[in-house]
Symmetry: D3
């Protein structure tokens, strides 16, 4: 019987094995229109985009990361330094994304520098407003969760707050038609929080998402003020209209509108371009595909449980 | 038609633009009671708290991270060095959290050093017990999952084990009324595993959470020994009692008690301060808001499926 | 009343406290068969395994990470350098895993170097095929999601693509009976994407998983070509057959087979070794435990909603 | 004959070997007055001190490190952010050093916070002056070295400029009687440049040190404006006066004074509290222990060379 | 008497202190022609230049850094990957340096891309030759130093070898009139080794510099084959010819020419545009300013030692 | 006239240029006996060796790096952890070095594991003695330098102390015939301090090297107790005896012996296998090639200075 023999043996590849593999793989790169990004230097960089995001969050929630100790006396220097950095870096990433788009569309008529400046300024100019909105979001979380002990606890540890902050940032770029970056931001948030809000969704003020894992909010969803959403809620599309060629029509309104003061409990699924009227309560696990009038209280007639003794 | 013109153009901000933005943002910081943490140096640091956590996990599962090669001969030095480090760092973070709390409450009567020492020692003194409990948890995972090939595989790659380990650590600090840190620990775990267990929940021994994504276990939940929980299970609150002013009453028991030997299948939702009696089996996707006697086997009378041929 | 007194006090541990704790914890290490990995140097390293994975993904989607700028002229050097590195490192990790297995089984008859070489070559030799398959997956995502703007957006930001890529890699090692590493790879993916696909599952081509959080696909599941899966779908086991001693029988087929062109909407639960026939549509939240014929369209007769006005 | 046998052998230490070594080494720590720094947390940190130094150099030579791209528009934010950081960190390090000194001297009468503030402000307040002086130093380097192609080349690559910049910084702290830190700064410079200028030396303006390796300038040396110094020059002490107990008297003037417009060529050694009068030229390798009048041109009567043909 | 009072005192700067300092320092930046590099993005980066250098050294001495394990089978991929990287990065740094030069000279007639390509190719094309030359240098070190135990020891630990390798690289760029970078390379070497060889010096083959600290070799020095140089040797300029305006004339030959097979012992100083004829031996500490015929053996008639008994 | 034209031009290498360069360079690797280290994995790693050195210095001067805060209570864990780490890592590096040597010598009779253990234990077992010796060295520095303010300043910032510490470590390995590593350690020291002491030199106690730049101490030098050495001192070889084939004889005693209580001032050169008798004083810049009796006071009859007025 052959003994375990693992030592003293160098596991080098056979001669030419690597060479053959290199050729085989490189031959799959020849189709340049495929899933390669060779000879193309200008995709936005995931690392840079996330770095910019962290800088922006430092401005929105100053002092919480603990990376710098801030004083009122010197805070203006921190903000100024960060904005200068973000302005330059964000412009660079946005320009890459816009050029990418033009290259994809064989477009030659965009004034990319001007569009870049416009989008960059829209985001930086929107930070003060995001801060004000986030104050309301956080107050909503404090009021809505008996487990919340303080505003600071919410900022430090609620994934819903993180997801909403990032979506508000991404949404500004989405509105300015910047490609790729908004989605990269929201997927970063999805990865960190389990909450998947498309950058296209329109969010009102004082939104609270609790626990959040599994929440999906689609591109054309509209959410009014003071809406509360629990884990596992889907605001999705019912079906996708297709054009004459059978291709999905992109961009049409296909997700729900949630009016103000609505609460949606865990696991509810709301599909299609319908409206949930204001002040409604949507119970856990319900499945709704039709518009609900204001002040509706919708619960599942729970399927009869079969309870047996073992 | 204007050509794409992206080169040779420096995208510097207009003069004074940054200055104006800095002023606008800094003016939103003036409300010190808001979502700023300026002039305040003592919040626990997320980075430090996670670092301490990793050290504690090294002690609970020695050798698995592969960062150090351990021998029985020298393990006591590793443990001693780690405990010395953790003692100092953890004391520092706990003291920050306790001071923060006193500052929030305008309290001036706490003996913070003594409370800090007490909480720190409770955690370090609890590590041996956590190890013993985790042995049972891991054995439960091995017995409960046909896909599990070995104990080591479970320690290396089961998110449920990671989530429970971290919650057991956080729970000790929660019991000692340390603010902020327990929640930061559990949100770290939530982010890594998709499993959201509040640090306040009381967990028995030999708990197994499989797959885990979307599991939510609330602050006042109590889980007995030998309980098995699958992905998407919620042990939540049904409603939040409010005080006369309409504010949610914080702290009251509002989540379920799960007795020993209960299995809860994927997607089940169990809400309110109810009891699931021992040896019960709760089927997938069921929705339970009332106490179940021991040995109950609860399944959903599955809603009639409509099956059509296309 | 005692004042808050936190300064000037060094929070050193009492004499001998650390010594006692070290002894207490080390005494729990004495049980070598337990959850220790002391005196054992050869577990695969999580850090190394993830590093290898990132290298492989660079080869499958060259240029997207933005870490290197690639030209057609020099791409062969990049691929060759990466393959050489991966070959060596992967061999090392696989050999550790195989030796680990032999040690666990008191086996002394395996030709580990030969098995290592075989598994390493299987993975490297499979990369070109994975690339071709991923092209189909990404085209499926583009066709299936109206929110998708370009193939590059999908590669850069769709968690489903990431999860499937990693599973395809892990599956090759699983087929070669490499222990530990396949599961480590898939748990990395689970952590990053919220999608939990066991490395044992067999996936066809042009698979699209949208949003993905909470998806669970079991070890013996089989998924045909052109299958679309939404968030929260479980392809699980119904029950675990046990042997005469009451131990779960490991390895038996216990998860569904999904034939080609099936769409499974969000939250559907499909359990047991059943077949969903080709061209079927499985509606959201349905609960299926029996085989469905081809071209079935299965929807939940939605539980009656109770709608009240507040 | 015994074969080379290196594989399969674990080189673990004998049982207890490490334990014995630990005891042996720890017993040498018992002498607390010795070369231990245990139970003492407040020595200035080499890492922090060097970090502060790099920040200060960024302010003195803005833009050269290439770490940040600076615009006139935003430079004030960079400077403000850096000064705020340096103020806090430098205060911390200086306070450690001052406390250390008091502890060494059993002093209990220093107003350390006030001394700290004073020293910190002296350094920050001296930066503008250092910049102005460095302009003259760099102009002197450009005028004095035919190999210098531009001012920027000098800033980027002349070790003499680096050494003088650091000494000017350290000298301010030396003058404020800050212990340890000035010497740490100058030794950093010594390590990087091979130029050893004591922080106590008094340097005029427009000083140029070329090549620099081996230059030693003592604590009580005084160097006037427009002095040029080449590699290997020593401005040292001739002998050390001792007190009645035979202990060296510390602090007395014991190094040379070099008046303005003096050039000292490579390898010259000038020892003792003497004066080299202004406009003098000191030749290479000379050895001087006596005062030289102004406008002296001192050369070595070169020792006769013995030249033979081989 | 005032007590040491260091705790509980926050060492914040006075209001406006930082503001005043920022203004004061920024006002020194207004002189744009001075020692600022604001609004200028294109200086070569020290970090990048050193990174490129380390890559080049990996090619010249493959395998010694231990960063990659190389096999003959895969070495071509490593070299190709490195060259591709270096080509791109080096082009970028050289172009920055050339643009910088044009900007300094208000030049608008250079074909910078062509000059960049030319210089980059000169360096990459020179690597094979540098390797061949370094083989001779290392053999010379082995033959010349009784303490040298092996060629590998010399490559791993002889500062002279490092300094010569770097100078050979820098010299190629110097010959192509690339500004800044050659000097940055040689100052890196100076910092690491204490050996200061100007990039302009012309070095023959089989050069050995032992110990090396304090060696200075000037811009227009020429060193023949098989020359041995010990620590502290200066090959410098005697005086600098000036033009009618009193400015030093830059670029003229002003350093010695050392012919082949010359040995120069420690501390020797050889100054001016003179020739040391082949096969000569220059003794330690000698001071030479005149041409020496071939086969000269020059020693210092040692200054009479005064030896007293204490 | 052609304009500066640097934008919009991609500086890609010509087709095949990189390929040709790769071939050219790889062809120089074919001579395997040359300056390649391909197919050889076992050279000691510079990074690892320096890491081990830093750990050892932490043990010799505990607490000075400021990386860990040490208490008497927990110091044994720090030492134990460090020794365990060093034992393993050092064994690994020493074994590589010994194997390397055997490979070079085609030796097949060494018991490498035993030699490795022996050398590792010699070093670890020597640490307590090194600590005791360093106490004397530091006291000597304090007594000998009027600029020294405290023992801690000396430990923190005197290059001579660093160089001697490292040499004492390297010397132990040198005595055990470990190749490569001792020289790598001493060259690290040389790079950091400018002091070049060969690991073979024998150093007594209470040695003080002040400033240190340019000091060279040869392999077979012997230095007695209480010796003081200033910058630029060489203890070198006069000539190298050759064997009949004209090859330098390696290993013979060829450097000076310095007896106790000798002081050697800056720039002195002492060459050959001579003795400087105890209690002697060697003046600056002297050149000695013959034995000096005890209590000699040797000064240079300074070459007559020529002093002119300009």
């Amino acid at each position: 019987m052959k003994k375990c023999q693992t030592d003293n043996i160098t596991l080098l590849a056979d001669n030419n094995y690597i060479d053959i593999m290199v050729q085989e793989i490189c031959s799959t790169y020849e189709d340049v229109k495929g899933i390669n990004h060779i000879e193309g230097f200008n995709l936005p960089s995931e690392t840079e985009v996330e770095n910019i995001l962290h800088q922006l969050i430092e401005i929105i929630f100053p002092g919480y990361s603990g990376k710098k100790s801030l004083s009122l006396q010197s805070i203006k220097y921190n903000v100024g330094e960060t904005l200068s950095f973000v302005y330059t870096e964000l412009s660079d990433q946005i320009m890459r994304a816009l050029k990418y788009n033009c290259a994809m569309d064989y477009c030659d008529s965009c004034d990319i520098p001007s569009l870049t400046k416009d989008a960059t300024k829209a985001l930086i100019g929107g930070l003060a407003k995001i801060r004000n909105t986030m104050k309301l979001d956080i107050a909503a979380a404090f009021d809505g969760d008996p487990a919340a002990k303080s505003l600071d606890e919410i900022i430090l540890s609620y994934p819903g707050v993180k997801a909403i902050t990032i979506q508000r940032i991404a949404h500004i770029l989405y509105r300015k038609n910047v490609p790729l970056i908004p989605r990269m931001l929201c997927e970063y948030s999805h990865r960190e929080t389990g909450i998947d809000i498309h950058p296209g969704a329109h969010l009102g003020e004082a939104i609270f998402i609790d626990h959040g894992t599994g929440v999906v909010i689609g591109e054309t969803a509209v959410i009014g003020d003071n809406v509360k959403i629990y884990q596992g809620v889907t605001l999705g599309a019912l079906s996708f209209p297709k054009d004459d060629c059978g291709h999905i029509i992109k961009g049409a309104k296909r997700h729900p509108t949630i009016e103000e003061n609505v609460t949606i409990y865990a696991g509810a699924t709301i599909l299609g371009d319908i409206v949930i009227g204001k002040d409604s309560i949507i119970g856990g696990n319900v499945w709704i595909t039709e518009t609900m009038a204001p002040r509706s209280k919708v619960t599942m007639r729970a399927p009869e449980l079969r309870i047996k003794r073992k």
